[in-house]
Amino acid sequence: MQDRNLKILIFFILIFCASCASIEGSRELIPYPQEVPENPRGCWIELETKVDKISGEFIGLSEENVYVEVQFGKKLYAVPRDEVKKARIVVFYPDGTGYLGLWTLLGVLSTLSHGWGLILSAPIWLLFGIPSMIGRSYEPVFSYSKKELDKMSIYARYPQGVPMEIRQKATRFTR
């Protein structure tokens, strides 16, 4: 494969990588899939309100508020439901998108051994590889509109509802 073609291939893979889900939380704040079953905390949440954005651990819901703890216990906020435009839950850290990218790249390069067949097999690698990468990045991500907020309660630290003891520590989110 000529250098130019290789550059084009890498360029396309990078372009499609840009289509992957971007997550504001760092790896330390979001568990890998295998860690989720024994994680005592809520999932990562990103809320977009009428005035600002807030992200952190999803503590739970009440009739009036969505509770978000920013940076693990530093500050608990109660975001009025009326203020919320949309919410995004990240259940686990989508590991492996880099591996899938490398897998795709090597898959395409491996088609050099297919002779004429690479005319078919190389695009097939891209057709499956790139959507797989993008799909993987969105696997743990669930988006909710304002009306659907109740559906996300299962991802909260307190799916049964936020205990009063905790609610009392919350600050109303008004930036």
């Binding site: 259940v91 591996y99 049964q160």
Partner: protein, 521 residues
């Protein structure tokens, strides 16, 4: 080289990534009220942990648990987290009253859908790779390929100097660019190196023949050009399988071919065709054909037998002491790859010559002169090796006159979309050569002469050069001078011995090589 790279470098990394990526999981989270604890019990080990959310906000995460429905309790080993999750307590046995439980949560790990998709593609791709490694003679392989615009898109229309597999075999080669169309008084040829070969091109000239709008010009195998303004279609075409007329009536890429014989690869077959003609006219038989992969298989097999000594053996071709042996071998190859034409005259079949086979990629069109015909029905037999030829088109051309082509040299050569004066100079100077390597693509531009409005051009490519096949690693394992000697001195015996080997790959070889239809004319 590419396959060696794949074996040594990519394949192990591929396996590591594959293995790692197989461990990509997604999580299916479910919540149950305590009244449905029995459903949680059914999930069992699928969820590695059970989360028990208490009404007061506390949380148990149990690694092993049992739901006692009779006593309405959950017993298990694990960790208790306080309401604020800051303090923990670990116990081998917690007994939790279901009455105080708010919700039960399971998290089942499932294989990522992305991995499933990639695993499917990898499986198919590895299968193809393994096939190519196991049957290297089924993959790669072509001479310099020439692509020309056909009025719609670039189409593979010629393979240059197919038989010139060594410097000593450097030769001229004329190919009809049967579907070529010019644009803005120019014609552009795209010459590609699409195989693991080194191509050495001495020149690539365009031959143009002015002709009537409704005429066609054909070239004989020995390089003479004849114009015909009346083309007669077949009235009958029969092969062993029956009527094949629809397959060879038009030059449309629909081809007639047969499978090789199971016991002897040199087995011959006949196709009988008929035309309605006017007695006293001069006719030429027009044939559009290309080879199947049988000849490619045999050629690569011979190279495999040569193994590490391939360079030595190929050099022997140029040794005048071996000329006699080589000429005999060459004739045997021509007979194997060619089509013998027999005409029915005076109650018997008379052979009027053999039209050479060319490569397996581009359909090559030639005319063979038949002299005057003295009856109103012309019967012709095409005799060829079973499974060796793909026949696209057969017609009869009424010869109008012999014509001379105009030779046009390229005026510009582009490499990587940039002008390449060095490459142009190589093609214009007969002392120099243009050497191309796998993946190279050159665009050669030609200016066409002025022509009368009621005329048109027929295009041909005249190229000279040779190519060197790269010996694949897999072939070296088959190095065998004795079997090479058998091929040279007793080709019939070799064709019998190799029959089962070819038949075992024949179907897949064609399917794989042509699966993309990329190179089909």
């Amino acid at each position: 080289m590419r396959k060696i790279l794949f074996n040594l470098f990519f394949f192990p990394i591929f396996l590591v990534i594959n293995f790692t990526s197989c461990n990509l999981y997604t999580v299916e989270k479910k919540i149950y009220p305590p009244q449905l604890a029995s459903q949680v019990a059914k999930i069992g080990d699928k969820s590695p942990f059970l989360k028990v959310h208490m009404k007061d906000g506390g949380l148990y995460i149990l690694k092993s648990w049992k739901i006692d429905e009779e006593n309405k309790t959950i017993k298990g080993r694990g960790i208790y987290y306080s309401i604020d999750r800051n303090s923990t307590e670990e116990k081998d046995l917690f007994i939790i009253d279901l009455e105080s439980v708010a919700l039960l949560e399971t998290n089942v790990l499932k294989r990522s859908g992305a991995v499933t998709a990639m695993t499917l593609v990898t499986g198919a791709s590895v299968a193809l790779t393994v096939y190519c490694l196991a049957n290297p003679k089924a993959c790669f392989g072509s001479c310099p390929t020439f692509y020309v615009w056909d009025g719609d898109s670039l189409r593979l229309q010629a393979e240059g100097f197919t038989s010139s597999v060594a410097p000593a075999l450097e030769a001229d080669d004329i190919d009809a660019l049967y579907h070529a169309k010019s644009y803005n008084d120019e014609l552009t040829l795209e010459v590609r190196n699409e195989a693991l070969e080194t191509h050495v091109i001495r020149y690539a000239d365009l031959l143009v023949v002015p002709k009537g709008k409704n005429s066609r010009v054909y070239v004989t195998p020995n390089g003479k050009f004849f114009e015909s303004d009346r083309i007669l279609s077949l009235t009958s075409a029969k092969a062993s399988e029956g009527d094949i007329l629809p397959l060879i009536l038009k030059p449309d890429g629909k081809e007639r071919f047969s499978l090789a014989d199971e016991k002897y690869l040199g087995e011959r077959e006949d196709i009988e065709i008929e035309f309605l003609v006017k007695p006293g006219k001069n006719y030429g038989l027009v044939i559009g054909r290309r080879l199947t992969l049988l000849s490619t298989f045999l050629f690569y097999q011979v190279l495999a037998y040569m193994g590490n000594d391939a360079g030595y053996w190929l050099a022997q071709i140029g040794n005048y002491k071996n000329q006699g042996k080589f000429d005999r071998f060459k004739k045997a190859v021509e007979k194997f790859n060619g089509i013998e034409i027999l005409v029915h005259r005076d109650g018997e079949w008379k052979s009027i010559g053999i039209i050479d086979g060319e490569g397996p990629l581009a359909t090559n069109f030639n005319i063979v002169l038949l002299d005057k015909v003295d009856s109103d029905t012309l019967r012709v037999k095409l005799r060829m090796t079973k499974g060796a030829i793909r026949l696209d088109y057969v017609a009869l051309a009424e010869i109008s006159k012999e014509v001379e082509p105009i030779v046009i040299k390229p005026y510009s050569v582009l490499y990587d979309k940039k002008e390449s004066p060095e490459s142009l100079s190589s093609l214009l100077d007969s002392e120099k050569v243009l050497v191309t390597f796998p993946g190279d693509v050159y665009k050669l531009k030609y200016r066409l002469p002025k022509i009368e409005k009621d005329k048109d051009f027929e295009f041909f490519l005249k190229a000279r050069g040779y190519y060197l096949e790269w010996i694949r690693k897999e072939w070296l394992e088959e190095e065998n001078p004795l079997l090479l000697a058998e091929v040279i001195f007793s080709p019939e015996q070799a064709l019998r011995r190799l029959a089962p080997k070819f038949k075992s790959v024949e179907a897949e070889m064609e399917k794989q090589f042509w699966g993309s239809k990329y190179a089909r004319p």
